[in-house]
Symmetry: C2
Subunit: 221 residues, 2 copies
Amino acid sequence: MSMEKRISMAVIRRLPRYFRYLSDLIRLDIQRISSKELSERMDITASQIRQDLNCFGGFGQQGYGYNVQSLNEEIAHILGVDRRFACILIGAGNMGKALANYENFRRRGFDITAIFDIAEDKVGTQINGIKVHHIDTMAKYLHRHPTDIAMLTVPNRTISDITDTVVKAGVLGIWNFTPTDLRLGDNVVVENVHLSDSLMVLGYRLNELRRNREAQGPGSV
Amino acid sequence: MSMEKRISMAVIRRLPRYFRYLSDLIRLDIQRISSKELSERMDITASQIRQDLNCFGGFGQQGYGYNVQSLNEEIAHILGVDRRFACILIGAGNMGKALANYENFRRRGFDITAIFDIAEDKVGTQINGIKVHHIDTMAKYLHRHPTDIAMLTVPNRTISDITDTVVKAGVLGIWNFTPTDLRLGDNVVVENVHLSDSLMVLGYRLNELRRNREAQGPGSV
DNA sequence: TAGATTGTTAATCGATTAACAATC
DNA sequence: TAGATTGTTAATCGATTAACAATC
């Protein structure tokens, strides 16, 4: 019933970055930090930091700044890093293997409980101690093991039956590594990675950098 | 000397998405499309499409719309997909292996010419036909083989010497998979992937979805 | 207390959307 | 030609930055 103000995506996408910098500060044994100091480290304005943090609550103290440890914990809580998510991984290709082996995710609360693939020679094997099942057994598995997130690393484009199965089974989040944009309605959250897009943007920006340099001539530093 | 208007990042990041949708339309044998039709497919406004495309030129025709094939080619050119980039991959771990095996990148003009790692048992091996060299030989290699892009998939945080070497050798773009934000000045473009950040944002949005559902009560559809 | 720094409101900037004249 | 749809200007919306009173 409370009149929560909606947090903008722009703010949400900055939260993990705050979390990283604050974790670094803890490692450096720094106990307090002002928005000004943090703004210099992060290369954003102090104003933005104060605005962002105030979306969630008054974590600071006038004349003092922010307590690094407790601010870190607050952001961890906002991000849900202090809870656990049951995940399945769909697609045991190279990217799937890389994700299954990446220990950091587990540290942040994301547990991969099972892997699914269509290739018979992969079914029955294990990746980083996680069993690979045949994709046809996925619906049954999800029925027995309530799952929060499906990580999607299948290479091809025939994924609508996969997403159907997953959504029907009550999965609420999809981490999508395929180049397809999934439109699954308001009952699921989709986070796209789209590596090719990222690489193409890098290519564009690189060409632009080169153009600007050439426009300035070879003499300038 | 020409007074080019600066293209905003928001527009640039949408370009690969246009490219993907237009490539799909070609596959579907659709020859022409209006901004309105495309807007429905892509789930953005027709106005935004026309604004975005007009940053680069008048690709459409009044009363007709856009020619799918030629618009696709224009965007391919803008993105630089019709040129080639020489890339090296630093870090032959699971993520490095996944990237080296991903054939799509080569199709888009990104050639991985060499892989570098510190682990002696990896040096001398090949991944997808690409040789793994010791990281200490990287400076020498870059001297002989001018390189556009370095893909960075090393796990740890001691990367400043790596980025130093790479930048000094004239590499202009870094595709960064490490959780560190690189600050390398105006002579290099850095594109971050930050998988953990993406996953944490998914976690946040999933929790938010769950909160909203619970707030509405279990009775509602 | 005086100084420092937040929380928060107001001003600015940029990006998206709407509208419509130009034109194919 | 008439109808359709762009290119482009103007209006709106949202996000960032500046400013300062509140307060530790």
